[in-house]
Symmetry: D2
């Protein structure tokens, strides 16, 4: 009755909070790290959460990947939407099981995977991506995260228009979100929600201006910072470094135009 | 086909980001604010998102409440778990549609409502609350948020034990989370996740120590800060005041004990 | 040999960190608070640091005011430069005993008082203020802070030019700092420092552009946040509220133009 | 009349905000960087602020070092008191020209240099350091910063007692500040100020407890965060990384014991 690791499952090999590896369990493969290699075949039929030693004796734990792990591992170093931001985007967008969501751009599919995870099984994500070279990567990541069935990837320019109607949310993580605001207004159900994530203040200002001119209310922009704590009896303190900025989240609700 | 406001629906009357009111649409009722009153009957059969004038001419918008609104409006001033924290707790816990979750304490049901919203329709929340006086309030809030069917409220002391087995997450927002760690270990599926939210550093230290002694790995503590921005062409700046602290989030994964 | 409170000295009456009063010790006066009144004459010839009871039995402490107290008490609610910002402005400007400093605008003299305090006795502050109505308030505050002798207040528009040459720093807390950058370049000693404090990002961008075009290097902008901690055994945590924003500090060094 | 660079002066060679070098101008020396070398002799008799090309054509600026530069360059990577913290310590301590200050530990002399800079020429810093191996480094750094004449370095254990009386401030950056609180009370003028800087919350709690038991009031603890901004037209945003923690600053004023 306890869930076992099966061949071709993905496991998260955990060494430390900063050293985790998302790997596919193939029976004949070895997975090599700076701490020696692990024979992946040994994991088959074991329980998730089991400890396993590498060839050099380092202890790893074979964890079942969660949505946060798929998000983290779907990203390229260059443009990261952090789990903290994704968590807030999901909460502020109001989406949940059954929601229909338009998203752009798809990128590597990290945010897409999260959206699909929370709207499944009866909801759906329509994700727009103009850069063809991302489509395959996104598909691979969405498949690995077990959410590909809830996503339609569209190789289209969302600044030209949105095909869907009566959607529950439009969520943007792209260079020119302000060009999508009037299309988002058309696509959204009345009273539904627009969310945009932008690294720069300039993008944010343009987006807010477009929202004000297009019948949105409750327009709010904020940023989110997380700071790790080092918890040790007698030595407790915040961690030394933190991410100072990922992006600004702008949120608004559609209202009937006057 | 467009969704209409029906009698006995809840609407969020929006005046400004800081002035919103969650009210039940009763045909004969007036809703009074410092900006005059609104005849609620006038909203019936209107579209969500409609603008409506109060008796003094102030313009309100009748929005469809989202999960974030239900959370905000479920809380008493005294002990608030903020949407930002709830968003992160949900993301880090790994729960989603279909998950089975144990939570304590229920309190006014704000976090419970969020958990139920994200696990529905096939998942379930088992929430423990020792203080009987909260049960009725929680029920009312969960009913209003349309998630009561996905929740079992238990008037029991979780520090004495957890009835459920093989759950996907144990989520705590209570005074003594460290007393629940060993029970959480028993209740969790292998490799599944424990999350605790505590205002003080002392609670956090005790909880982390208990996690270290009870077979959890990937133990991480962090805090989340959100800062609002005032976006106005020529006058853009962060807002003047912010919440400096709500609580520390501690997260861990169950592993097989050695 | 221990310093005594004399008639007409200012004392800081301390009730709690948030309840302090800067008052002049006049022999026949009573000082009234919400916790009863204090007969100021009783303080004469007492040691600084003495505890004194109000008419209702509340205990106050008669402290010797420090520069930080004079700063805090010189300000109007509407436009506050916080001690944290003043501290950083002083440190980054490189000024110290003997420095000659140009400042604008004077306002109520809070920043002026700090600058004068740190450059005295052999340095001097030349402070420009175009709004005549501030001059008297500034004089009063600078006199009370015992630094009026180290300050020249000029009722002049600094955007029209700076009279001084070879100064060690130009420090601006005014609406249009970018209009002063070229004058600052003329007034500064080679290699000396420009600092500007602005609430909005728009002011900051214009100022940085002007600095880049006017022979400055090492141009840096940052913001400073302070967060109070509640330290209590068993209940230690950050405070609930904090100031989220006062202003951006922009800093640069003059170099020879190419 | 313009200040010239003289032989044996220190200059700050500036390449970028993150690439600066504090070097002594020796006529026959070359200073080597990853961007080629600079013939230091060429700087003699030049104006501060001059631009100079390295052997590979990279442009450096020869700046006059300020107190902040001496602080930064006095530190070892391992234990840094940041200029932001030093600025706040100075401001909150109330010291200025003429103040007499007790400090511990000396370490590499970074904080000592700042304190001496602000109390000179008529004030003095008495700095305690138990670790003999630091004394020579501190002397060298204080000499380079031109403040050695205002400092007495004492190779003594301050937890055993403070020799000085009637000082204006006691400032601690050491492992066990709570062991110094009662000595600080004896050494301070009535109403004068104690400041302590500690990386961990545990040190801070012990120190606050000692202050409460030893006749101090206005006890406050806070932390300071600075966040850099990238200011570029069209691309303005906070920087990606920041220091999340250096230490907690605890501040208190001596009052007469009851």
């Amino acid at each position: 009755m306890v869930e076992k690791i099966k061949e071709n499952d993905y496991v998260l090999l955990y060494l430390s909070p900063k050293r985790t590896y998302l790997v596919k369990v193939e029976r004949e493969k070895e997975f090599h790290t700076h701490k020696g290699f692990i024979k992946l075949g040994e994991l088959v039929d074991k329980e998730y959460g089991i400890r396993i030693s590498s060839s050099t004796g380092a202890e790893f734990v074979a964890l079942k990947p969660k949505i946060r792990d798929y998000i983290f591992k779907s990203q390229r170093r260059t443009q990261i939407t952090y789990p903290k931001d994704i968590a807030l985007i999901v909460m502020f967008s109001g989406i949940g099981p059954g929601s229909h969501v338009v998203e752009a751009g798809t990128g590597t599919g990290a945010l897409t995977a999260a959206l699909a995870f929370y709207v499944k099984p009866s909801g759906h994500v329509y994700t727009y991506e103009i850069r063809e070279e991302f489509i395959e990567t996104a598909k691979k990541n969405l498949t690995r995260a077990n959410v590909i069935n809830y996503v339609e990837i569209k190789n289209k320019d969302i600044t030209k228009g949105i095909d869907e109607k009566e959607v529950d949310a439009v969520i943007l993580d792209m260079a020119t979100p302000w060009l999508v605001v009037s299309h988002a207004y058309q696509a959204l159900k009345p009273s539904s929600i627009f969310v945009s994530f932008s690294p720069t203040i300039d993008q944010t200002i343009k987006t807010v201006e477009a929202l004000e001119q297009n019948g949105f209310v409750d327009i709010q922009t904020f940023e989110c910072l997380t700071r790790g704590m080092q918890i040790k009896p007698g030595k407790t303190r915040p961690q030394t470094l933190m991410t100072a900025h990922t992006g600004y989240i702008t949120y608004a609700r559609k209202t009937k135009k006057q």
